[in-house]
Symmetry: C2
Amino acid sequence: MDNQDIRKAGLKVTLPRIKILELLENNTQRHVSAEDVYKMLLDKGEEIGLATIYRVLTQFETAGLVTRHNFEGGHAVFELDRGGHHDHMVCMVCGKVEEFIDTTIEKRQREIAKEHGFEMVDHSLIIYGHCGNPKCKVGY
Amino acid sequence: MDNQDIRKAGLKVTLPRIKILELLENNTQRHVSAEDVYKMLLDKGEEIGLATIYRVLTQFETAGLVTRHNFEGGHAVFELDRGGHHDHMVCMVCGKVEEFIDTTIEKRQREIAKEHGFEMVDHSLIIYGHCGNPKCKVGY
DNA sequence: ACTTGCAATGAAAAAGATTCTCATCATCAT
DNA sequence: ATGATGATGAGAATCTTTTTCATTGCAAGT
């Protein structure tokens, strides 16, 4: 039950929060900006303010329901936390995002942090490149 | 000669560009925002516009003289490209930035990209955590 | 079901970062 | 030296995100 997730986060179960969580769960593209969420909900006929989207997404992030990514482009994107951590691969042409996880890299990161006297809390690995689509290859 | 770097980038050698490059070379903190550069140059008595800072930093980035990072915090930071690529480790409390490079991770990244049909062009790896300073440990 | 406190909301304003416009000025090849 | 072209500064504009504040709605207790 999603509503329980909201309640567990110490937040009241309100319509905007339910709608935002539903959208994050059902939307085809997993990485969306606040603006994206706003427009999609408006398109669905919901009445909601952009400020609420930002507030709720930040609360969801604090609660660990959602992760915020600072990809290139001047705006943050949000993604529903489906249990497992993973890293990202972004196509610089079409913007396609692939997710991956690699134990070798994960392990090395912890080691490197320790070597530098750091205690790793989180990390962000983003590979930028050209995806398999021929239109995204160099030369076009 | 720095000015040659500017010229090689196809840019005219102007006072603002020289001053910005000098600052990036001599400043103690290697990661600075456009606003940082602006204030530092003003403090040094230089007359320069913020718009110019943004323009020049973007040009330097395009020319490969400078790298732009999208760390957390809503604004980009820039760093002089001193030849070698490297990744970052950021203290979530004091903001300290350490640099590192690890061949194991570098190699794996290329492999992973290929496995997903991507051709890697660039990447960004940022480890967030608590640095060695006792004040930055959990519990404070 | 009814009240009521406190959190949540929407709209608009504000703040912060970055880009754009445009008139003026400086660089550099000739 | 000089002229074409690119570069600059100031401010306006744009874009993203946060804040303010009056109003509304949830939820705990009756």
